[in-house]
């Protein structure tokens, strides 16, 4: 069972109070994009054993979307951050590097 801190409310939310939103930081490709780009946006997902970035919505609460970084193997949560960004904050990446040296996820490390 995951417990994530909502960056807006500051409360520790149980997984059952949240709605999962899948992988974080996707780039949306729509009309005008190539077939490969659209396929990547629609279907291609990371499936890491280790560091992962996800979107969650505090559905039984403030209703806001936020991002979370966690380890898919140990379920350790590295941190959460607001959704108004296209990449994980540097501070959080530093925290992850201390705990999982050499990690990488898509283009981030």
């Amino acid at each position: 069972m995951l417990i994530l801190d909502c960056p807006y409310c500051g409360i520790a939310c149980d997984e059952t109070e949240l709605s999962p939103g899948g992988e974080a930081h996707l780039t949306r490709f729509g009309p005008g994009s190539s077939e490969d780009e659209f396929e990547g946006y629609l279907f291609m997902r990371e499936n890491p054993r280790g560091v992962h970035f996800e979107r969650w919505r505090h559905a039984h609460g403030c209703g806001k979307w936020f991002h979370a970084a966690r380890d898919t193997m140990t379920m350790e949560v590295f941190g959460t951050y607001p959704a108004q960004t296209t990449e994980p904050p540097a501070e959080l990446r530093k925290t992850i590097s201390e705990k999982r040296p050499g990690w990488s996820w898509r283009d981030f490390s």
Binding site: Y8, C9, G10, I11, D14, E17, A59, H60, C62
Partner: protein, 191 residues
């Protein structure tokens, strides 16, 4: 015009705590940029209360402002005053991006009274929220889940808690609360 009635008039149960449907309660949803001084000044003028801190409830003379999300407040007042407050708030907030809506009849309110520890025990059976007095002290509002439905919970004092849920699930929530506080079903965790 037809008479207004609450979701479960007179519903009450007595067990480890007393659960009562609180009757008609005025509730106004206010959305806007809470950090905007124009918005907070308008609220102060109409309601007489300052915008509560994150997760808090600020109570005044018969009214209270509850922090619901970074851009949403709930104003509780007498049921009959709610329509008037919506008009006044709408006027005071004109010029600022906002939404003010009377949601009184969309909700059901339950009052839980008794020993604080027993109230926390009963609620803890239904919600994943941390109910320790340090995590949910008097003055804090916790929006969460009671069994399968959304609800908000706060303590007015250590012996009185209020639960708000959608009106359509009022009977379900009353059943949950009554069952969780049945005599003989005490947990004693918070005692």
């Amino acid at each position: 015009m037809s008479d207004r009635i609450s979701a479960l008039p007179g519903a009450a149960s007595s067990g480890s705590i007393r659960v009562e449907e609180a009757g008609l309660q005025g509730m106004v949803t206010i959305r806007g940029d809470l950090g905007d001084k124009g918005v907070s000044d308008a609220l102060k003028k109409v309601v007489g209360l300052t915008v509560p801190e994150k997760g808090q409830r600020g109570a005044g003379d018969g009214m209270a402002l509850l922090w619901m999300s970074p851009d949403e407040l709930m104003l509780t007042a007498a049921h009959s005053e709610a329509p008037d407050l919506v008009t006044k708030l709408g006027d005071a907030l004109s010029g600022h991006h906002h939404l003010v809506c009377n949601v009184s009849d969309a909700r059901a309110v339950f009052r839980l009274t008794g020993e604080g520890a027993a109230i926390r025990d009963a609620l803890a059976k239904l919600t994943p929220a941390d109910l320790r007095p340090s995590a949910l002290p008097v003055g804090m509002v916790r929006r969460t889940r009671l069994a399968q439905v959304a609800a908000a919970v706060w303590f007015e004092d250590e012996g009185t808690a209020t639960v708000v849920c959608f009106r359509s699930v009022a009977a379900y929530v009353f059943g949950l609360l009554a069952n969780a506080s049945k005599p003989g079903a005490e947990v004693g965790y918070f005692r």
